[in-house]
Symmetry: D2
Subunit: 348 residues, 4 copies
């Protein structure tokens, strides 16, 4: 059988990537694509790379247009998303790529986002290890409302959660600096996102613990068993369209060495199709994950500084957004988890 | 009067940048340019951007060819540099852009570089604050042998030294992650430096405390008064030719806030022509320093994580190498320190 | 059933892209991957983006290792390719991504390539229109030896052949200038391909009619019916890994306008899954074809200059190489032509 | 003495580049910088790379604010420029970087720009060769109103004018395709200029003879003696901030070979400080001109296609805009033509 799918917010980058991946999914029929200012346009005028979908036309983003689908993906700015999903029926699985349903703590929401709090949904990071050793995957089976993680959050969580869960690193002194591509900022017309500004330059943003993804990182590491988690998180925009390379470091608990680290991380991700731990001395680059639902992880211990250094690479639009959404959908629907997704990046 | 200058290693990126800057220096005559495999070629065949120097021809890198100049700049790989400078006469000021004369501790040299240890020269970072509040500038007056700092080292040292000197941050828990351009790796033919590999990708290297610049960072922060300095330093190659954006973080001493930080850093760099501290909420991007001898510094305090976050941006070939060399030469010769150098970047 | 496949030259960019596409092909089993200096390495050490193939190890490129497969893809430098394919058995379909079997005229081979002439194979551009209105596709049915076109050639041929075949443009005054990505130059270690050299710069090569693809363009347009074809072809390297954007212009025959052009090109490519003519006023960008087997074509008439301007965009590694190879294989094997290939680009 | 200068439109890319170059000009004092929406801001908030000008504040763009300067540079969108310059006094030299005063033919203005026609000023391309062998330089001596050429126009004019003037090429069949950086499009917030869209992609615009620079190219080549000039001109946006690489081709008159071409071009530019003809077999890349007022030219003859191919490279913001403006100012004021300008690019 084929599941009917709608994508709300189909003219943005996340929406476009959902459609690219869904177009390759064997069990899906894309029925409805919605937009705001672009409603009425042929999809390929707005997303000219989606050639196989040139029969689709964008319609308004309304609950009516989104009703009656097996699955509705929502790729809207935060706030807009919660407002819409309140009006979607229980007959659809709803998967929100925005932030509105990620945080469990209303105080965090108010501090970092503001506006109405819509409450947390089942969190769409299947590989997240819980304090008891179980995985988030189990929660997603049969889920009807799913919140897709933030892209930076995924990169840092996958990097550090195994060490937190196993008690190898100190949760109160985490530092993560991320090199991130521009597509994470979306298509919004801001002068600092112009190509002339980004080209040949590296620029930080949300410096000093102000990035909205911060409480979500702490929330995940708490799920993994971390108490008193504190993370200094700085994203740096670099000249690439896609990709996140996270350098996450942590103080090691006494006596912990690289061998302990390696065995813990490898055990945590054994059998995972989309998270791969590289051999000693190998570290990922983001290009290796472009277009793929893969997270690559490299491990090192800096003995002089007594810190663990974990390098993780993902495509922010795939494992960081649209791929995670489809992976979660597959689990929710009882399909093989890897259906319609690829492990292989488009390189060079 | 005009000083006669030779540049050894004129076919590389550092050599090329020295020549670009020297060509604009009013008190300099470029007399000799040397190379190894490119000896015999017109300079502009190898450095086609140096149009005003199309009368120069590359000659062999020998002590004889380099003799008799007022100033000799050496831009050779480490090891080669020390070997050569041993044979240069006392009648020339010698300024080494390589690593051979930077480290004071032979053990560090052996551990991170290896091979013969040539001993430390006067260190060419004029703005470096010493524990007693003096500046490195004073040491450079009249110096005849100068070691230019490593580019990553300059970015991190300028970011953190004021706080170390003033006792605002803890020296034993420093973490620095740098987005760096490719020119720092030079013109060597390595497959990971091919454009197809670098383009659209971020890739770490020397992960886990193995980068050769590590002991030099510690050495500088010790000069600034830091005891027990430990730094976790990870460089990340990003798709740009030039530029270093350093995100340096440190645990704050109890009770220290952003106002203390700001006043300390601003005092440390008051009157410095080439180090500028940006206002609250502003952070630099590397493009703003392209071609300039400027270091830009932005400051933030992450109160939840209780860490200082300092963002510093430089052009690795200018303030990180060739500009620092010329700035040091100006001081050594008694010329105005800013002669032939610009504060203004080439942007966009 | 599943066809067994070998890829010779699996450590290069063309080989890597063949493997990426073949890994997603439902009727294929990748049995053998060969290399020269990398033989003995795990494939993923050399091609770290091919995560699903981490069970494969590179073996030597020998006729013995390549024997016994249903299909052998050859992705070797010209010369090497012909030398090898002479020793491959008739039990395998052999598909050469190199130049050795493209040209029908030995004089052209001698002039532009030199060395032994191995003779032409069936040409792997299914959409090429012949003078009699038939398509090259017909020749590929059941073919056992297939030569994949040059990437630049594909971009120009698809742009101009319909007008040549229909007699709308003058074959003797064609001018094509191509913006090309760096992956077409392969992984060879040449200093002008270093990221520092390519970044932020545009650079021509093979200026003045010396590019090896020139005779192949003329050969194709002759197949389309062009007599006395002359083409001025200049490729310009620009800072991107993949992609060719060809600007092909031609003098129009008297009385020919945009409407004639449009109807001719649309008719020529009606029903083609991988060649799409964009509406009036729309022109392609290369990013829309990244990773896809799609050629996008935009049409304009410059009335003041009395010239047709055709813009065509492809991914040089897909429709320009590996995708064309697999599309040709599908036809040769009697599989649906689009199997394992996508029309949709990875954008942004 | 020092001339007082105002820059109108100081918050844009052309205005920023004027200021960068003027800050290095020994005979200039920058007194006034104006803007529209950014009026009231410190200059360095809008142009953070202009560190030496951090004492300047942007004021409104009004005739009153611009009155009383020795030289006024205008870097405004076309239309706005003519409107303003009508109100500037005769006591100032006015140099317009916009299009309003470039075209001599009102019909061309109406067809390509529209709106009020403000009439032509002295054209600021000193190296332009006239039919009689004189240079445009002569017209600029003492000029009080100067129109700076369009950037694409400069690249094509310098490439082709010597051959037109000498009668070596046919003016009626010119084809030029340009790889251009994004800064030429300015800071306007358009979605196709976002970094995510430009990165890793090549995209044409103004296809089919519609670009506004077309009549200006024809006008210049007519000045050089071309009758019946026709040029097919296609610009292609590529992922770089600065730079134009023009591939200009022309049919050769019978019997003309590379030696004739070379001697003609070398004679045309003999002694020119900012236009350099490269040796046989060498062709420029744009990076070699970054930040410099240099145009580099490479020459080839495609004998099979019987066409001349000229490659020219400039920095669109320097020789293409701000550098040409200052070079023209120098001539107008009687200063040495090269004052404050450099021949040397910032590479890599």
């Amino acid at each position: 059988m084929s599941y009917s799918v709608a994508v709300a917010g189909a003219s943005g980058y996340a929406g476009g990537e959902l459609l690219r991946l869904l177009a390759a999914h064997p069990d899906i029929t894309i029925t409805t694509v919605t937009a705001h200012s672009n409603a009425g346009q042929p999809l390929t005028r707005v997303q000219p790379h989606l050639r196989s979908l040139d029969h689709l036309t964008l319609v308004d983003t309304t609950p009516e247009n989104l009703a009656g689908h097996d699955v509705v993906f929502v790729a809207l700015p935060h706030g807009k998303s919660g407002e819409l999903t309140d009006h979607l029926g229980d007959d659809s699985i709803v998967i929100d790529c925005g932030a509105d349903h990620r945080l469990t703590n209303e105080g965090d929401w108010g501090k970092f986002y503001g506006g109405e709090f819509y409450g947390a949904w089942t969190y769409g990071l299947p590989e997240l290890i819980h304090a008891d050793g179980s995985r988030q995957r189990e929660k997603l089976v049969g889920a009807r409302r799913i919140a897709v993680p933030g892209c930076n959050v995924t990169a840092i969580t996958l990097a550090l959660a195994p060490g937190i869960q196993a008690g190898l690193i100190k949760p109160e002194d985490l530092v993560a600096v991320l090199a991130v591509g521009t597509s994470g900022a979306g298509k919004s017309l801001k002068s600092h996102l112009l190509s002339s500004e980004i080209h040949g330059s590296a620029m930080p943003y949300a410096v000093g613990g102000t990035h909205r993804h911060t409480p979500e990182i702490i929330q995940n590491l708490a799920v993994a068993g971390g108490e008193g988690v504190s993370v200094s998180f700085t994203p740096v925009l670099v000249p690439m369209s896609r990709g996140i390379l996270a350098t996450s470091t942590a103080s090691l608990e006494p006596g912990v060495g690289l061998a302990d680290v390696r065995s813990t991380w490898e055990l945590a991700y054994a059998g995972e199709p989309f998270v791969q731990v590289l051999p000693d001395g190998e570290f990922p680059k983001t290009a290796d994950t472009l277009g793929a639902n893969t997270a690559l992880i490299g491990l090192a211990v800096d003995e002089a500084a007594d810190r663990l250094v974990v390098i993780s690479a993902i495509d922010n639009l795939v494992k960081g957004t649209a791929g995670a959404a489809i992976q979660s959908m597959n689990i929710a629907l009882g399909l093989p988890e890897t259906t319609g997704l690829t492990q292989n990046g488009v390189a060079p």
